[in-house]
């Protein structure tokens, strides 16, 4: 075939030219820079403006952070060391570390207890967060709330033990009767738990020793970042079941149940958290039987849990609404009753869809635990604004303290949201 064009064309190439390397301006670092930073004139201007902004921020903060002093005992001492240089006095963090983390009234010799509870929290949360871990670890997760309560608050070990026993009794009854009739099992379980708790109310004072293994610590002595963690973890975990119940109630076809749920959810979502905290602080006492005194921390936990449940209910309702109607109908046509179809078909899918929303609510709630500083509880922000900034040693150390609080919250919240994104990728079952 090579002589086909022999008369008409002078030369015909018979082999392919080897591919030439891309021009320098289109490949490698230069190519990337041209494409991503200097594609057009406007783009280049934007890049330079961004670089200048980064330079301004770093030039202002880097020397201040790197030149920081870590080892003085007061602001005046720190200023002497700095000799007029502008740099951070991070020594406030080292000197007041325990106050920032545990509050200013928690007994020093017991700091190991909340620290241990904090470390164990990861162990307890791990099987919930990562499904590949052995399922037996969930047993520890179930024990953890009681263990953590005992570690942090101390006192007689029998109170958490009986609280756990009540739950176990309730679960045993539910497991025995729940298979035949959900309602019987459910109500019977609640009754069994109540019986155990009422019995415990009489028994525990009798058998509690006067000198418990872990001495009791009062609730009002809790403070610092520990308080934020307690409120965040407790309220998020408590609000999940309530949120699910409220969401199902709002979807229910019983008008009365639906209206109760709607009114509760819309009322709670309509008011700011701070007004609910005011309720916990000054109003709730009027609605409790005369003479009872609830801990402020318990009242706050009740109100924040109500607040979080309403938001989580809305997220889960979104998940329920997003399920195709066919799923509900398929469950019905298999002959499953309401409890079974919810537990086996609807909720697993709806909760999966709602995970990003639930995590958003949890992160928001954890950030909102700082609001308790306004009703004079000494959480991390409360500690900074109150005892530390007001002390004569550290009056005026503003940026170091708030910078520390920001970093602490950023790490926690960013970590949680990264986890949720991982989980979302992990749980996607569609083939895209």
């Amino acid at each position: 075939m090579s002589d086909t064009h022999a008369e008409s064309v002078a030369y015909v190439r018979e082999t392919a030219i080897p591919p030439a390397p891309a021009p320098v301006t289109e490949a490698g670092v230069v190519g990337w820079l041209r494409q991503n930073l200097f594609a057009t004139w406007a783009n280049a201007a934007l890049t330079i403006a961004a670089l200048y902004a980064i330079y301004l921020v770093l030039a202002a903060t880097l020397p201040w952070v790197l030149g920081g002093v870590w080892t003085t005992d007061s602001l005046t001492e720190c200023r002497e060391v700095l000799q007029g240089r502008s740099a951070a006095c991070f020594s406030v963090l080292t000197e007041r570390w325990n106050q920032l983390i545990f509050g200013f009234k928690y007994p020093d010799e017991f700091y190991w207890r909340p620290s241990l509870a904090f470390v164990l929290l990861f162990l307890a949360a791990a099987p919930v967060l990562f499904f590949d871990l052995p399922r037996k670890l969930l047993l520890f997760t179930a024990v953890y709330p009681f263990l953590a309560y005992w570690l942090i608050w101390g006192g007689t070990i029998w109170a958490p033990v009986f609280a756990a026993l009540g739950l176990v009794a309730g679960y045993v009854i539910f497991d025995r009767f729940g298979n035949q009739n959900f309602a019987t099992g459910f109500l019977g379980g609640i009754a069994a738990a109540l019986v155990v708790w009422i019995l415990a109310d009489y028994i525990v004072p009798l058998i509690a020793s006067d000198d418990p293994l872990l001495p009791a610590v009062q609730s009002r002595d809790m403070g610092g970042f520990m308080l934020n963690m307690i409120l965040g973890v407790v309220c998020v975990s408590l609000s999940l079941p309530f949120g699910i119940a409220l969401a199902l109630g709002r979807q229910s076809n019983m008008p009365l149940i639906r209206w109760i749920s709607v009114v509760f959810i819309e009322f709670i979502r309509g008011v700011p958290l701070i007004t609910l905290l005011f309720v916990a602080n000054v109003v709730l006492a009027y609605f409790l039987p005369p003479g009872t005194s609830f801990d402020l921390i318990l009242r706050v936990i009740i109100m924040i849990t109500m607040f979080a449940s309403a938001y989580i209910a809305e997220v889960i309702r979104g998940g329920l609404a997003a399920l195709p109607k066919g799923q509900y109908e398929a469950a019905d046509s298999l002959g499953l009753d309401y409890a079974q179809s919810m537990r086996l078909i609807i909720l697993p899918q709806a909760l999966k869809i709602s995970i990003p929303g639930i995590v958003n609510v949890s992160v928001g709630l954890f950030k909102d635990t700082t609001l308790v500083s306004i009703i004079t509880m000494f959480d991390l922000v409360g500690m900074i604004r109150g005892p530390i900034l007001a002390s004569s040693d550290w009056n005026g150390v503003y940026w170091e303290l708030f910078g520390f609080a920001s970093v602490l919250f950023f790490i926690t919240c960013y970590g949680i949201s990264q986890y949720s994104q991982w989980l979302e990728r992990r749980l996607t079952t569609d083939h895209r």
């Binding site: 934007l46 979502r269 309509g270 006492a285 950030k367 950023f410 919240c413």
Partner: protein
């Protein structure tokens, strides 16, 4: 073949209340009703007994009593002799003021950041995600306190502006940034100023009229009128001409140093600035995510189809992408506005006199009327939330995709 007979009609048995689906829902609702009523009865009886024990009663007459405290930033006349009700009104207006200001700036910031997060420029994209992540993951209360700290600790005192060789000077000789707040020029309305204002309002209406005329012309005849420059001209030229002809009836009252403090102009207090700015940057980060998600929700095929029809990039954005993206963006945007309003209750942390700080703070503490104050406070926020969600529902039903 056996004859089919009607099954025997069952008589009503008590177990049917639980086992028969016809009656079960009634049973559950009855139980729920009894539980709710007994809960309220229990709480109510406790309340009555507690109030009786403390010798209190529920009464709103304290609203008429003189409040006895001063408020540093008020939009309506108020003195310490005014009633508690007047103090509450001051608080309501202050809440609405910071909420409206916050919504405007948060939207501007959020839209800019959201669009830039989709920019082709790698550096700008990363910078904007750093902004969003940092501001979303740190509590807004900490942001309010940090910005309040910047306002009160880092800015110079008014005395720094004094003397022949002051250490601080005013920006453009118009704005003074001090640790007591920012002083901005106040407009002075001279005789005839209302004519200028009326002309300006009329020109705004005229701009809209011109644009709708241009659109109508385009759709009916296909003739394209220029809109950019003529709009600007209609907006500005008549007002400026009239302003000069009438001899500059609107002046500026520029703040100046008098003694130890600034006088004249409008003082925007440090608490207001801190709250406004913190709410804006914090909520702006959330809005940026909404905007980004909204733009990404418009499928690429829409852009390509519009390009295939021969539309230019700007028209693709205006006519194809934005209308579809807005449908996704606006509902979460409105709930962010609601969040700003609710978060503005954190004003109490920096001493800005919003409704939470006046009615729920000082009035509550001075009169001891906890139940009444907190109830009124909740009703106020509830009214705002419900009216915003009504607006949102109307919008949603209006914007719903018109499908078959």
């Amino acid at each position: 073949m056996t004859a089919l007979t009607d099954p025997q009609r069952e008589s009503f048995r008590l177990s049917m209340l639980i086992n028969d689906t016809r009656y079960r829902s009634l049973t559950f609702q009855a139980i729920a009703l009894i539980l709710v009523i007994s809960l309220f009865a229990y709480l109510g009886s406790n309340l009555v007994r507690n109030l009786a024990a403390a010798g209190l009663n529920i009464s709103y007459s304290f609203l008429e009593d003189p409040s006895g405290y001063d408020i540093n930033q008020t939009l309506i006349p108020y003195t310490s002799r005014s009633s508690n009700l007047q103090a509450a009104w001051v608080g309501i207006l202050n809440t609405l003021l910071v909420a409206v200001l916050g919504c405007i700036t948060a939207t501007v910031l959020g839209v800019i950041a959201g669009v830039l997060r989709l920019s082709k420029n790698w550096l700008v994209r990363k910078l904007m995600s750093v902004y969003v992540e940092i501001f979303r993951n740190i509590p807004v209360l900490i942001w309010i306190l940090i910005i309040y700290g910047i306002m009160t600790v880092s800015l110079p005192a008014p005395s720094a502006f004094r003397g022949d060789n002051p250490t601080s000077s005013m920006l453009f000789n118009l704005f003074a940034f001090t640790n007591r707040g920012i002083y901005i020029p106040a407009p002075v309305w001279g005789p005839g100023s209302m004519i200028v204002v009326a002309t300006f309002v009329a020109s705004i209406i005229a701009v809209f009229a011109y644009r709708s005329y241009a659109k109508k012309l385009l759709f009916s005849t296909g003739r394209l009128l220029p809109t950019g420059w003529p709009s600007l001209a209609i907006l500005l030229v008549p007002t400026i001409l009239l302003f000069l002809v009438l001899g500059r009836p609107i002046g500026l009252d520029i703040p100046e140093l008098k003694g130890f403090n600034f006088g004249g102009g409008i003082k925007v207090g440090a608490p207001l600035i801190a709250l406004w700015f913190a709410l804006s940057v914090y909520t702006g980060a959330f809005i940026a995510e909404n905007v980004r998600a909204g733009i990404l929700a418009v499928s690429k095929g829409q852009t390509e189809a519009a390009a295939a029809l021969g539309l230019r990039p700007r028209r693709i954005m205006n006519l194809v992408i934005l209308p579809q993206a807005l449908r996704v963006i606006i509902p979460p945007l409105i709930s962010q506005y609601l969040n700003i309003t609710k978060n503005s209750s954190l004003a109490i942390a920096v001493g800005y006199a919003d409704i939470t700080a006046t009615l729920g703070g000082i009035t509550l503490n001075q009169t001891g009327r906890a139940i009444e104050c907190v109830l009124l406070l909740m009703l106020f926020y509830l009214a705002i939330s419900l009216s915003i969600s009504v607006i949102m529902n109307i919008y949603n039903s209006k914007m719903k995709l018109k499908e078959r």
